[in-house]
């Protein structure tokens, strides 16, 4: 890992944690004072080491787990901002990573009925509902968008 890789990782997660946003290549270039080509190359290295997931066409960040750069069915609302998580597991991860309580707003994968779960970083929720992992763990990285 190069110093730019490490700097980008810090910058990416700082933005997620403090502002609830996943930065673009242009924003990362400004934040790190690195040419966008270097940022792209560094993001590709971070993706190949499975730190982040990139959007297939643009090379922009798609996932900085547990945060999603694009809207998903897993909205997580904290006292400061609302973010999108990549999946149900990641939705639980957001308040844990932020170290503050949050409300997960999702929908039943089957019928679409709203599911709202208060999730604390300090203890498991006592909530109804179940999480379903559709793909065996060994194949998650075949397509992290569908697990």
């Amino acid at each position: 890992m190069t110093s730019l890789d490490a700097s980008l990782r810090r910058t990416i997660y700082d933005a997620c944690l403090t502002r609830g946003v996943v930065l673009s290549i242009a924003e990362l270039s400004v934040a790190t004072a690195a040419p966008s080509a270097d940022v792209r190359a560094a993001l590709a290295r971070l993706a190949s080491s499975r730190v982040i997931v990139l959007q297939p066409g643009s090379g922009e960040i798609l996932m900085a787990p547990p945060f999603s750069a694009v809207p998903t069915p897993f909205r997580v609302e904290t006292s400061h901002h609302a973010v999108y998580a990549n999946c149900a597991w990641d939705a639980f991860g957001v308040p844990i990573m932020l170290r503050e309580p949050a409300r997960v707003e999702a929908a039943c994968g089957c019928c679409g009925e709203a599911i709202q779960l208060p999730v604390s970083p300090d203890g498991p929720p006592s909530a109804d509902g179940v999480m379903h992992f559709a793909v065996p763990a060994a194949r998650w990285w075949d397509d992290l968008v569908f697990t």
Binding site: A6, R9, R10, T11, I12, Y13, D14, L17, S49, R50, V51, A64, P65, P66, P73, F74, C87, A88, W89, D90, A91, F92, G93, V94, I96, M97, A106, A107, C108, G109, C110, C111, E113, I115, L117, V119, P121, G123, P124, P125, S126, A127, D128, G129, V130, M131, H132, F133, A134, V135, P136, A137, A138, T147
Partner: protein, 72 residues
């Protein structure tokens, strides 16, 4: 990984999409998994993805020992 109202809705979804049933987890167990996975500061210079053996140990500690959870 999706959320469902209950296991019956998971079964319906699997039938609808002709998917084999995967692994079902209640919110408390999912929270423990997320707690172990996301507590670290991923922006810290020293952070690294845990090696496979460590992930397997984590799964084992949460009694996720079925073949579904094997990583290799």
């Amino acid at each position: 990984m999706l959320l469902f109202r209950n296991e019956e809705h998971v079964d319906r979804w699997c039938r609808q999409w002709q998917m084999p049933a995967g692994a079902i987890m209640a919110p408390p167990q999912a929270w423990h998994l997320a707690k172990a996975w996301f507590s670290a500061d991923r922006g810290a210079p020293e952070w690294q993805r845990p090696p496979v053996a460590a992930v397997e140990a984590l799964f084992g500690s949460l009694e996720l020992t079925a073949p579904f959870w094997r990583l290799r």
